[in-house]
């Protein structure tokens, strides 16, 4: 008689793989070439912060320190803006085809060092190497390559209107896709002829400073791109600096609103890419197995640290039991653990603070009456980890259905009619993305018309491309990144 439990003591799930055997470790061993200390990148050079202060960047997978990162204060941010302002005129006057060449070079040099960057990204942020290797780094290179080609075609960006760069742009980016968010912000700004002062998130500064090495290698003129590191106070200095003609921010809605208030008395242009609480909607005629993969990809990609994550599953009642049962089976075989292991599906939570936020919201979900499901899984003893988590019996008023958790936690709701699905999906102050799973073309087009979200994925989820505009409706922000639409947001009328 076959045993009723697996070697790890789990209930048999009718699974004939994954669950039965342990995988051998398959660590990625490429050298991330980290330095012990990372200084600020201002005016084309690495410089020590005026204060002489540094903070630790740790590996969230094991809580070990990776490097010292410079803490930028007022004088440093001033110096970065001054360098960018000096660089602006000559950079804007550089012919587009020449500006483009620098961006092409950056793309190529990044591709050359892709594996090294992927390992550094994974060690610094905790995301699985599979994702940093196959998604973050190649996509970052693609963004430079795409925008490089725009630099000499700017007269085609806005029909009937000549465009010009704005000046110095202040940019603050989050910790979930550190290098990719940098590429999203830097590439279009530079292609248009702007100069940049950018601050990476304090927990994930390393790949930005590694990219600064590439900017040097590419011969990018000093001051065109400046990177200052630090936490929220440094970010407020970058956003509030009088030298900025525009600010672009990606992060939480809460901080985005604070920046909007901070800049209310100025005529500063803004792009805000803020939070989300996307509905992923599965109809009864959907290809269920593909939908389940899409749901998993939607919420567990990058440990759920994704602003457009499909964190609310809306499932059609006729198939709800089947979808939920398959989903439970599927997440039983997700591998949580060492991010550098090539077989890892869920890596480390980015920080201790974020882990606490996830735990707090999950506890609220249980307290408010939703039903928790977590597969049995052994989490590493050190580091920040959270198992893939499903909540059923969720109502629209639950905090886990309203607030952005930014972790591997899926809230499952059901619906009966198309109208109900639309109403529930739109019942949120957010509007960044949405997913629809159905075999019916007219329904896809109806849903994509009615859903108040900047990106709609139909029979797919979490897809990105440099040519595809990304950005939100409502409190998910304004402005777009990517495509012609995103590029135009870095210009003014000439």
């Amino acid at each position: 008689m076959p045993p009723s439990t697996t070697p790890r003591g789990r209930a048999r799930a009718g699974l004939i793989f994954g669950d039965l055997w342990d995988f051998d470790p398959a660590p990625e061993t490429a050298d991330p070439k980290l330095k012990e200390r990372y200084d600020l990148f201002i005016d084309g050079r690495f410089v020590r912060p005026r204060s002489g202060r540094y903070f630790d960047s740790i590996n969230p997978a094991n809580e070990r320190k990776l490097a010292d990162i410079a803490l930028a204060g007022t004088a440093d941010v001033d110096a970065a803006y001054a360098a960018a302002a000096r660089a602006f005129r000559p950079w804007a006057a550089t012919p587009g085809r020449e500006r483009g060449k620098y961006l092409f070079r950056i793309a190529r040099l990044l591709q050359d060092r892709a594996r090294e960057f992927a390992v550094a990204e994974t060690m610094d942020g905790g995301k699985p190497i599979r994702e940093s290797r196959d998604f973050d780094v190649p996509m970052a290179a693609a963004h430079f390559f795409y925008h490089a080609g725009w630099a000499d075609k700017l007269e085609y960006v806005a029909p009937g209107r000549a465009v010009a760069p704005l000046g110095v742009v202040g940019q603050v980016i989050p910790w979930n896709f550190p290098l990719l968010m940098l590429a999203w912000k830097l590439a279009p700004a530079l292609a248009m002829g702007n100069c940049v002062v950018l601050k990476p998130a304090e927990t994930t500064s390393i790949t930005a400073l590694k990219l600064a090495e590439i900017l040097q290698d590419a011969g990018l003129p000093p001051g065109v791109a400046n990177f200052v590191t630090g936490a929220g106070e440094t970010g407020a200095l970058v956003m509030g600096h009088p030298g900025a003609a525009k600010v672009a921010f990606t992060g939480s809605t809460e901080v985005g609103k604070a920046i909007m208030r901070q800049l209310a008395g100025t005529d500063r242009r803004m792009t805000m890419e803020l939070g989300g609480k996307a509905a992923n909607i599965v109809f009864d005629d959907a290809p269920i197995d593909q939908a389940v993969e899409g749901i998993v990809d939607g919420i567990f990609f990058n440990q759920g640290h994704v602003c457009c994550a499909g964190s609310r599953l809306l499932v059609h009642e006729p198939v709800a039991d089947r979808v939920i049962s398959k989903l439970k089976d599927r997440i039983r075989v997700l591998r949580v653990g060492d991010p550098l292991d090539k077989n890892t599906d869920l890596g480390a939570i980015n920080s201790k603070a974020q882990l606490a936020t996830i735990r707090r919201l999950v506890a609220a979900g249980v307290r408010e009456g939703a039903v928790l499901f977590q597969p049995p899984c052994r989490l590493p003893e050190r580091g920040f980890y959270f198992p893939p988590t499903l909540f059923t019996n969720v109502t629209q008023s639950h905090r886990i259905a309203r607030e952005e958790i930014f972790g591997p936690v899926l809230a499952i709701l059901t619906f009966r009619t198309v109208d109900e699905a639309i109403e529930k999906a739109n019942n949120t102050p957010y509007g960044l993305s949405a997913g629809v799973w159905t075999d019916k073309g007219s329904r896809i087009l109806r849903m994509s018309t009615e859903l108040k979200a900047g990106v709609v994925w139909a029979n797919t989820f979490n897809r990105f491309d440099p040519s595809s505009p990304f950005g939100g409706y409502k409190e998910s922000g304004f402005g777009r990144e990517g495509g012609r639409q995103g590029l135009l947001d870095y210009s003014r009328r000439a």
Binding site: R161, A258, G265, S448, A453, W457, D465, K474
Partner: protein
């Protein structure tokens, strides 16, 4: 006959604001007096309140989905019809500007630009999508396209002067793409906007698509700023008002755009175009796999 005409007392009009397709007084029953350039009393104008503004937002929100679903061709024809209505009563509108101090030739030029501008945007209604939207050549096997959608209810705060040209120049691009509008007319010269309301009512524009308020900026601007159902603001505003609007907008991540035109700049072709339409649309990108 002649004697009777001489002694006849003219029937004066009670100015009412146009909200939700109806002509109403302020719910507060408050008014403020306006006089012509000659100093003589002309009429009492509704002094709209925050409550009137909220009612107008409700009307605009109700009208929104229907207006957005109209075909672009239909919206174009309705904007064109509005231009027809204005052209037919252009002398009355010119008179309303002259009465409050405008030079006749300036008023006449301004009104012809108004009509032409409406036709300009009528023509845009079924064209901007092809210029703002796109099919995007993504690297994966997906069909990916970006279309625009209206933002919803947009608050328009018109300049004091030129009262009609400013108002029409700001409202037209916003409704051309399917948004609905709650507008605050010129505080100094409100009467022409009352007349405009009468033309809107006869232009086939569904009630609630454009709602025109009269009143005091200092009373209404703060509510424009903070009303969460107003999804975007298009304002001609001074530095302090800009700050207040931006501050209020932060609470609900509202889109804010300011009209930089002043005085004669409103007459120029640079005061119109695709840019103003782009300011009040959202971009939506849809992905779908391409089967093997």
């Amino acid at each position: 006959m002649t004697a009777r005409a001489k002694s006849r007392i003219p029937v004066t009009k009670t100015p009412k604001v146009y909200i939700g397709g109806a002509f109403v007084r302020s719910e507060s029953a408050r008014t403020f007096k306006i006089s012509g350039a000659d100093g003589a009393f002309f009429a009492n104008i509704p002094q709209c309140t925050r409550k009137d503004l909220r009612n107008a937002v409700e009307a605009a929100a109700k009208a929104g989905p229907g207006w957005a679903k109209r075909s672009p061709y239909n919206r174009a024809q309705i904007l064109y019809r509005l231009a027809e209505m204005i052209e037919a009563r252009i002398d009355e509108l010119i008179g309303s500007l002259v009465r409050f101090g405008a030079r006749r030739e300036d008023a006449a030029r301004g009104m012809s630009v108004c009509v032409d501008r409406l036709i300009h945007y009528a023509g845009w209604a079924d064209k901007y999508e092809q210029l703002l939207g796109s099919v995007n050549p993504v690297a994966t096997r997906h069909f990916n396209f970006t279309v625009t959608e209206p933002m919803g209810v947009v608050g328009v705060i018109a300049p004091d002067s030129p009262p009609l040209l400013g108002l029409i120049s700001m409202v037209a691009p916003v409704i051309a793409s399917g948004n609905t509008v709650v507008a605050l007319a010129s505080e100094k010269f409100p009467y022409p906007s009352i007349l405009l309301g009468e033309m809107l009512a006869t232009s086939d524009l569904p009630g609630g698509v454009v709602n025109l308020l009269t009143g005091l900026r200092r009373e209404l601007v703060p509510t424009f700023a903070t009303h969460a159902h107003i999804r975007a603001i298009y304002a001609s505003a001074g530095a302090e008002e800009r700050r207040a609007l931006r501050l209020g907008a932060a609470a609900s991540v509202k889109r804010v755009r300011f009209a930089d035109e002043a005085g004669a700049a409103w007459l120029e072709d640079t005061a119109q175009g695709l840019d103003a339409i782009r300011g009040f649309v959202e971009f939506k990108t849809t992905w779908h796999p391409i089967g093997s």
